[in-house]
C-alpha cells in the first residue's frame, strides 16, 4: 500500500452516493478478520452494493457496468469520484483498506468525514477535496464519456478534468505531501521524535 505519489492520470469510477458511509464501503462482517491481505479487503469493497444476497452482481450498480467494471491498474479506474460527505460513520480503517485493496489511489469528493480522511491518507490513498461545481462537472463528464481522464498532480496540488480542461487546486499540508511523495508514514515519524514525547511527559501537569 505504501507507494510514492507524483502525477496520477486515470479514468474514474463515479460513485455518486452522498453520505456514503463506511458501513457501505465495507460491511461489518468483513471486520472480524485479523488479516492485512489487500485482496481480502479489495474483494469486500462496496460488497453489498456490488452483489445481492445470493452473491450475484447487481446489474444496476456502477462498478458492475461494463465501462466501469475493469479492475484498476495504471491509467484505469485508479480514481473514485464520490458523493459529498464521503466516508461518514464508523471509524473502521477497513474501509480505507478496501479502497486501497481494490486498487484505488485517489478519492475525489466535495467533502470527507474527518476520521475516514485520515485513514485514507494513512493507507496512501489521496483524498482530494474539490468544489461542488467541480465535482458535478466530473460526474457530468464521466456520464458523457466514461473514458474521461482526470489528472491529479500531487507536487503541484492540482486536479484537472481533461475533458473540459478545468483545473482546481487542492489542499494538503506540506508535512503530509512530503510523506506521500516519499512514501513515509506517521508512525516512523513519531518514533523518530520520541525524545520530544518524553520531554513533554516530564513537564505535563496531571492536576
Amino acid at each position: 500500500m505504501k507507494q510514492k505519489f507524483n502525477i496520477i492520470k486515470s479514468t474514474c469510477i463515479p460513485v455518486a452516493i452522498d453520505n456514503c458511509n463506511t458501513d457501505l464501503i465495507i460491511p461489518a462482517r468483513y471486520l472480524a478478520s485479523t488479516t492485512r491481505d489487500p485482496k481480502f479487503f479489495g474483494d469486500a469493497f462496496m460488497h453489498d452494493l456490488r452483489y445481492d444476497a445470493d452473491g450475484k452482481p447487481v446489474a444496476g450498480f456502477v462498478m458492475n457496468q461494463p465501462e466501469f467494471s475493469e479492475a484498476p491498474h495504471e491509467g484505469c479506474h485508479e480514481i473514485i469520484v464520490g458523493g459529498q460527505n464521503w466516508g461518514s460513520g464508523s471509524s473502521r480503517e477497513h474501509a480505507a483498506w478496501a479502497i486501497a485493496g481494490y486498487g484505488i489511489r485517489v478519492v475525489i469528493s466535495s467533502s470527507f468525514a474527518d476520521i475516514h480522511r485520515n485513514n485514507l491518507l494513512n493507507c496512501f490513498v489521496l483524498p482530494v477535496v474539490v468544489s461542488r461545481e467541480f465535482q458535478q462537472e466530473l460526474f457530468d463528464s464521466i456520464a458523457k464519456n466514461p473514458q474521461t481522464i482526470v489528472t491529479v498532480d500531487v507536487p503541484n496540488q492540482t486536479v484537472t478534468n481533461e475533458a473540459t480542461g478545468h483545473s482546481e487546486k487542492f489542499e494538503i499540508n506540506s508535512y503530509k505531501k512530503h510523506c506521500l511523495v516519499n512514501a513515509l508514514d506517521d508512525i516512523d515519524y513519531l518514533l523518530s521524535v520520541q525524545d520530544k514525547t518524553e520531554a513533554f511527559e516530564k513537564t505535563a501537569k496531571k492536576w
Binding site: 473502521r92 474527518d114 476520521i115
Partner: protein, 462 residues
Amino acid sequence: MGKTLFDKIWDSHVVQVIPDGPTQLYIDRLYAHEVTSPQAFDTLRDKGIKVFRPEQVVAMPDHNTPSDQQEVINDPIGRKQVETLARNCAEFGIRHFAMGTKDNGIIHVVGPEKGLSLPGMTIVCGDSHTSTHGAVGALAMGIGTSEVAEVLASQCILQSKPKTMRINIEGELQKGVVAKDIALYIMAKMTTSGATGYAVEYAGSTIRNLSMEGRLTLSNLSIEMGSRAGIIAPDETTFAYLKGREYAPKGAEWDKAVAFWRTLKSDDAVFDKEITYRAEDIKPRITYGTNPGAGIAIDETVPVLDGMSEAEKAQLTVQLNYMQFKPGQKLEGTPVDYCFLGACTNGRIEDFRAFASVVKGKKKSPNVVAWLVPGSWLVRQQIIDEGIDKILEEAGFELRLPSCSSCLAMNPDKVPAGKLAISTSNRNFVGRQGPGARTVLASPLVVAASAISGVITDPRKL
C-alpha cells in the same frame, strides 16, 4: 479573551506543532477492542517495537461477544479476533478485561463507569463512538487502526486542530423526552455532516440538568453529525458520578483533581460556530431513513418530495425504498419485528430504569423479538440489585449479557433481512443490524412503548 474547554485540553497536550503540518498530540488513554486493534499490534511486531506506555492502554472485546451466552463464540472468525486481542494484550503487557469477566462490557460504557475516563484527558480508540467519553469533560476522538498503532508505539497521534462549535440547549425537557431525543433532534437539524471539521461542546441549562448517563448518550452521537468530539464541561454531576469509581483518584489526589477539573470550562471564549436550540421544541424522536439525521418527531410524517431538488428527491427515494416507507407516511402505529435496548448509546443503568418504567405491569407484544442488552457487567449487576430484572421478566422480557449486540451485526444478534427493528443504537445505515435489516432509531422510552404495543408507539400515549 478566554479559551474554550476544547482549546484548554488540546493546548495542554501539544507535544509540538509540525510547521505547515499536523499537531503531535499526547494521548492520556488509549482504549482498544478486538476489531480495530489486531493489525495495529501486527505493525508493532513488524517493526520489532514494544508498546510505549502500556499502563495507559486498556483493552476489552465487545463487538464480537455474544449476548445469549459467553462460554464460547461459535463463529470461528469472531472467536479468533477475540482470542487475538487476549494474546496481544498478554504479549505487550496491556490490561485486558476479558469476555465474561465482571470487568468486561462495551468500552464506551466501561471506561467512564470505572473512572478510567476522567476530565481533562485526551482519549482515543479505534472506534468512532469514542466521542462518548467527552461527556466527562475529556477530549475523546475516534481514530483508525494506523493511528491505534501510532499511539501504541508513541502515545501520540498527528492531527490537525479542528474548529470549535458550541451547541446550547436551553430550557426544560417535556415529559417523555430524554437525552437520545435531544441527540436525534440535533442530528436532524445539523445533518450527518453539519459538524464535520469541528469539535463540539454541548452547553446550556438543559445539558446542566442532564444526568451523567444522559450526557454520555448525547456525546456518543456527536460523530453522527461528523464532529470529531463532543465535550461537556465537568461539574458537580460529573464529580458525583466519578467519585469512588474503581480507577478514579482517591483521597487527597481526588481533592487536587477536582480543584483542577473545576477550571475545565469554556471561559469568555468565542467559538467558530455557535447554535442554540430550545428544549421545549424537542419531542420523542424516530428516524425514517438510513442515516441518523433522517429523523422526525414521533407524531410527524415522513417528508414529502414536493419542493425538493432532483438530487434530494433521489437520495430520499433510495432511503425510503430501503426502509419500505412512503413520503408523507405516519410511522406511529407501524408494526415492528425487533426491539433493541442497549449499545454504547443506551446501554446504561438509567436506560434500563427508563425502559422498566414503561413496561412495568404490562406485557411484551407477542409479535416482537426483544433484545435487552446491558452495556457492561457492572450495569447488569446494578439492574439485578435494583430489582429491574424482575420487572422486565414479569413483562415478558429477558435480560441478556453485556455486548455491542445488535448495534452492528458482528455477533449472533442480527436482525433478519426485511425485518423492522426499533433500536436504541446509534446507526440506521443500510445493513447495519444485519444485511437487509431496517432500523428505526429511538430512545429507550419509545422502544419500550413499541415493544409493548408491537407498533411504533409514543410513550406519552401508552
